[in-house]
């Protein structure tokens, strides 16, 4: 999936770049390809990479941005989270295609900025993992809601927030914001909502 964007270098904050982009239009456009990679280390301490290639650069080196990320409560990728206390395993290894990107997702548990990926049968060959997202803990409007001293579902309080029911979680507001920006501006897709994006996620150990 190639997107066409204006290149401004990395010394300008992303928000400023986005503003200038809207003014600059397509002048001097360059092409990028981008995709996510999730490198499984531990449930609360892994890395989510955004890889992209700028096809206008000599030799097209692979650029990598990464954020600390968590996934699941166990390292058994076939564990499905349930209210029974069954703990969700981290995201199954393999490749995925994006099903959509949302700025203001409004699910019962996931809200705000969220990337939705295709379902996956895990490595036992018989367990279907579904509803797989990259997300954070924030409100639908991308703000923090922290009314209690405990673990509020739409508030990034502590390291424990990296633990998830099986999705990939990154910290709010900064890291989900930069992941969002890179996705839209370096080879992801400019669209929002549910769509077939063609952008990939690769999960490996």
């Amino acid at each position: 999936m190639k997107s066409v964007q204006r290149r401004w270098g990395w010394l300008v904050p992303p928000t400023a770049i986005a503003l200038v982009l809207s003014i600059a239009g397509q002048a001097g456009a360059v092409q990028y390809d981008g995709w996510f990679v999730f490198d499984r280390n531990t449930n609360a301490n892994s890395r989510l990479y955004w890889n992209y290639v700028d096809w206008d650069e000599p030799y097209q080196p692979l650029h990598q941005i990464y954020w600390k990320a968590g996934s699941g409560q166990t390292t058994n990728e076939c564990n499905k989270w349930r209210r029974t206390g069954d703990k969700g395993g981290w995201l199954p290894a393999g490749s995925y295609v994006l099903k959509g990107m949302f700025d203001n997702y409004d699910g019962s548990l996931i809200k705000g900025r969220a990337f939705w990926f295709e379902d996956k049968v895990c490595n036992d060959g018989v367990t279907l993992r579904s509803e797989l997202f990259i997300h954070t803990e924030e409100t639908r409007s991308q703000t923090q809601s922290c009314p209690t001293s405990g673990d509020d579902p739409w508030c990034w309080e502590a390291t424990w927030d990296f633990i998830s029911n099986g999705c990939i979680k990154v910290e709010a507001p900064h890291n989900i914001g930069t992941a969002h920006w890179y996705y839209h501006n370096t080879g992801g897709d400019s669209r929002h909502g549910e769509y077939y994006g063609g952008v990939g996620l690769v999960v490996h150990d």
Binding site: W10, G88, G94, K120, V126, D151, I163, G166, V203
Partner: protein, 420 residues
């Protein structure tokens, strides 16, 4: 099982092959903070004061019916094999191109009829041969396209006849009097990234007409019978949250809340359920409490607060209940709980060696006399892939027999309904 290559995507444009060019870290200002923390959630650090149970190798499988699938099967999609039938027969399940055990069933392969003659099992037939380590979209299945047909198949253990029982259906509960319940889909196909919805239907016998018991279509999973009441999950939303429903008869549905049934009491009158713990400081995903509730009026008889006993933090969902003893799956082995007149309490933890069984025990089954427990475990030895084994453990001697190693998939045919 790392897969590092993405090939052509649906729009026909390639996603680059994983790193073939020099890797540069562009990160002047936007990389993450140093990776220092920790709270690695799993596997948990070993609890103090418990010695792992000794394990010895024994051939064969534990008593009962099992569905197994070998990890190393080559060629066509491997099918399940039913082991443990009378006379030591191995029965290949399903049709060519299908697999026993439906991903929608939550891993439960099937249920044996109370009279012991039949097995109804979950089957899954994909629209074509698929490589699940790769994106299905890249294999030509777009979002919303059919992936597979879930079906229920009926195996007669006396004659060996294996036939289709219901197409577009999954998860079964079989009552002592022969009444059978299952989820019947609105359509035959499970579609990619689309919930599989339908209704829960009940037949008074295998040949009786189906009667719809739910009042609206939903993404249901049938759990089991507690006496005359059918327990059903209704999945919803992202992360597949689940409501527990009690179906007392056709159209009479009670919403019990976001709870999970760990096990049903032997008389079918009470449940051990797990649910969210109020006012817990810590990750909400770990805030689970355990309650004994009456099926008839949903009154709570006793509560076990996991924050009061460190060992309870590792308890996961499934359990079995014999007499006053409950054996529950635990991240380090098998947790034994007591349910008596004083209420529910923690008894002890039977530990497995986390070096070989890093995920602890799954689905422990207590023997009828409560002296043995058979559990599944995912085994890691050397560089070999994770494989299932069955461990039969003596609760008094705290020793286990290791059986049926090297299975990609292994699960008992087990009926959680009570009484039986």
């Amino acid at each position: 099982m790392g897969v590092l290559v993405l090939v052509a995507v649906g729009c026909g444009e390639p996603i680059p092959q994983a790193p073939t060019t020099p890797i540069t870290d562009s990160g002047p200002t936007l990389t993450s903070p140093p990776l220092t923390d920790p709270g690695q959630a799993a596997p948990p650090s070993s609890l103090p004061g418990h010695k792992p149970m000794a394990v010895e190798d024994v051939p064969g499988l534990p008593e009962g019916l099992w569905v197994a699938r070998d990890y190393d099967t080559k060629g066509a999609k491997p099918r399940g094999v039913l082991e443990g039938a009378k006379g030591g027969r191995s029965i290949v399940l399903g049709l060519e191109g299908s697999q026993a055990v439906d991903p929608l069933s939550g891993g439960g392969p099937g249920v044996q009829s109370p009279d012991g003659r039949y097995v109804v099992y979950n089957s899954w037939t994909e629209v074509k041969q698929l490589d699940h380590s790769q994106s299905l979209v890249e294999q030509g299945i777009d979002f919303g396209d059919p992936v597979a047909t879930p079906s229920l198949r009926l195996l007669d253990l006396e004659t060996g006849e294996d036939r289709l029982f219901e197409q577009g259906a999954h998860t079964i509960a079989w009552r002592r009097d022969g009444t059978i319940a299952y989820m019947k889909g609105d359509e035959s196909f499970k579609r990619l990234n689309v919930p599989y919805t339908g209704q829960v239907v009940v037949r008074s016998s295998l040949d009786a007409p189906a009667e719809v018991w739910t009042t609206e279509p939903g993404d249901y999973m049938v759990y089991g019978w507690a006496g005359e009441t059918l327990l059903v999950y209704r999945l919803f939303g992202e992360l597949q949250s689940a409501d527990l429903l009690a179906l007392d008869s056709a159209g009479k549905v009670r919403l019990l809340g976001q709870l999970g049934v760990m096990t049903i009491s032997p008389d079918g009158e009470r449940l051990l359920v797990a649910g969210a713990l109020e006012n817990f400081v810590g990750p909400a995903e770990l805030a689970i409490e355990y309650r004994i509730v009456r099926v008839a009026d949903w009154e709570t008889e006793s509560i076990l607060d996991p924050t009061s006993v460190p060992e309870l933090q590792g308890v996961s969902g499934s359990a079995t209940w014999v007499g006053d003893l409950v054996a529950a799956a635990h991240a380090e082995g098998v947790a034994l709980l007591r349910v008596d007149e004083a209420g529910i309490s923690f008894d002890r933890l039977l530990k497995l060696d986390l070096k070989h069984y890093p995920y602890g025990a799954e689905g422990p089954l207590l023997s009828a006399d409560g002296t043995q427990v058979v559990t599944l475990a995912t085994e890691t030895r050397g560089n070999s892939p994770h494989r299932y084994v069955a461990l039969s453990c003596d609760l008094v001697k705290e020793k286990c027999k290791r059986q049926a190693p090297a299975q990609q998939f292994l699960a008992p045919i087990y009926n959680p309904s009570r009484p039986l």
